[in-house]
Point group: C2
Chain length 337, copies 2
DNA sequence: CTGAAAGCGCTTACAG
DNA sequence: CTGAAAGCGCTTACAG
């Protein structure tokens, strides 16, 4: 079956391609009768135009890329949905790009700036490290959602994030308040100056203030998946069975840990307490419901979109803004025995 | 900052655009010294070429669209990942397109065939109904993954699916075997000739064979989300508190139902048994672990990709193949009291 | 309100 | 092994 081009439509409608282009783009300067005639032909042919050809013309409006790692990450996907919701109706087209586990999202951004004429981008999650240097090669506004880019030397990068250090402290405080002292922390690279490093620092702040020493062997470096957390937790609790509480740096990790605990006969929260992070939907339905640090997804999305559009349209400078998070007390934390 | 074009690179490297194009596409017929020179310039400029311009040339190889509803649907996203995994290395580029809750995926396919020169597509999940008529306007091979397209009048559509009727029967049989008789079914449109309708039919087969009457008021039409299932279940159990088992047509629904049960003081599986469907990863970690009908994600993905590529490359006819599913017995089903 | 023509950044025969 | 030129399907001044 034939794929029609604007030329075919023009011929069938007896007008020029210019005119077809005009009605395709809903421009006002077309005679009503002409418009209807062309629209009829387009409908018959199910014609919608070729995106590549259209995209080739530069003045094609703003296009922004939303970059995230993981099609199966519930938190980041919820964030992406929210970003798209706020983007809706704006004078820019948003495309979401998933990067692979082992891919480099910064190089992806650089590539996109060429390949798809992307003029701005929003990074969802992730972290900023030396790889980010390549971003200096592209002169494009960007905003990092959920992590701080304040320390990075990226003049065109803004960021929207919760105060991870404070929230890490509150998460730990919740455990301390319940009387726990042998507390494990399940997270990523604790040394990083990213969200995870901040959460860890906050947790240490709380321990220090409470005068409780942190047992270094209770820091657990885990993959952020159910299976990763589960396997790690099984191994950890075999080594450190007297641990009575866990601060997990994501809800997914928290759930994997809770499952592992259950399987070795430790109840949550009766025997071991667990606090999660992110506040994904599942945290409200898991059994037990998760006590967790809920990131304000809608607000992060809204601020990120607003900031980026401001940089793009009004040439506003990037900002680094923190939004309020909430520690939600639910069922997975109980008093130490 | 300047966005370089192939012309810029050619000038900087002192060669023609043809040559740059050749090294960009890694063609063999370029002098090694020339290639290196050009590659050096490209690297300096972070040049990767413009996807729109490239895509505009027709002989650009096969491109297939993977269409699914819901960026937050864990089952369909796992399927998409698997499809991409099998697609990797094939001589075709795959793009995944998410359609909105209220969008029409068939019109999306038609649009994509024009806009992005898509020459084949794989539908993940969903259902076939009268809206599918538009597909007859495009002469493109397609395969429906997880649902049967055998009855549809779509000459170019193949499908890969599990035998939903048989598995619906087995799911129900599990409940009957455990001694349950007051069983509810939580699903979508039970009348449809789609996967859900088949599951329901299978469930009825089992009840009939067991000589157990199905109480029509125990069929519950629910949205396939945690919240939807939870809310529906709360309402349902207030009306039919003597129900002792539930066949949920997706794991997500099963988990929402279990949470609701928990909240009204009914334990699973001691008081109420629940069987799910799909076999998503979370079903192995939820507490209790879900007894569920596991769809063979990898196999469905592999067969779908293989079939579509066969239709595309070898002009093979579409087929309708069923793959084996497995009912996994875990913790959410127990004996009736 | 309408159309002829140039051009977007590539790729691809074709010629050398 | 290399390059000049045509063309992919659109959009956009420009002219009428």
């Amino acid at each position: 079956m034939k794929i029609y081009t604007i030329k075919d439509i023009a011929r069938k409608a007896g007008v020029s391609v210019t005119t077809v282009s005009r009605v395709l783009n809903k421009r006002p300067d077309v005679n009503q009768a002409t418009r209807e005639k062309v629209e009829k032909v387009m409908a018959e042919c199910h014609f919608t135009g070729n995106a590549n050809a259209r995209g080739l013309k530069q003045a094609d409006g703003t296009i922004v890329a939303v970059i995230l790692r993981g099609r199966e990450n519930p938190f980041l996907n919820a964030l992406a949905e929210a970003v798209l919701r706020y983007a809706n109706g704006l004078d820019a087209s948003f495309l979401v790009e998933y990067v692979d586990e082992k891919a480099d999202e910064f190089q992806t951004a650089v590539r996109l700036s060429h390949e798809k004429r992307v003029s701005g981008c929003i990074f969802l999650g992730g972290r900023i490290d030396e790889r980010a240097h390549v971003l200096q090669h592209i002169d494009m506004p960007m905003v990092f959602a959920t992590i701080s880019a304040g320390q990075a030397e990226l003049p065109r990068a803004g960021s929207v994030y919760i105060d991870n250090r404070t929230m890490g402290r509150k998460a730990m405080q919740t455990l301390l308040d319940a009387g726990h002292t042998r507390i494990a922390v399940f997270g990523g690279d604790r040394q990083g100056d990213d969200g995870f490093g901040q959460r860890f620092k906050g947790a240490m702040d709380a321990m220090q203030a409470a005068g409780v020493a942190f047992d270094e062997e209770r820091y657990v470096d885990t993959r952020f998946s159910l299976k990763g957390a589960y396997d790690t937790a099984r191994g950890f609790f075999a080594m450190k069975p007297d641990t009575t509480a866990v601060f997990a740096m994501s809800d997914t990790v928290a759930m994997g840990v809770i499952r592992a605990l259950q399987d070795i006969g430790r109840r949550v929260p009766e025997d071991v307490s667990v606090v999660g992070y992110d506040g994904i939907e599942m945290s409200k339905y898991f059994i037990p419901r998760l006590t967790t640090v809920a990131q304000p997804i809608d607000e992060i999305a809204r601020e990120s979109v607003t900031m980026l559009m401001g940089m793009l349209d009004q040439n506003e400078p990037p900002r680094h803004i923190t939004v309020d998070a909430e520690l939600i007390l639910r069922e997975s934390v109980g008093p130490a025995n």
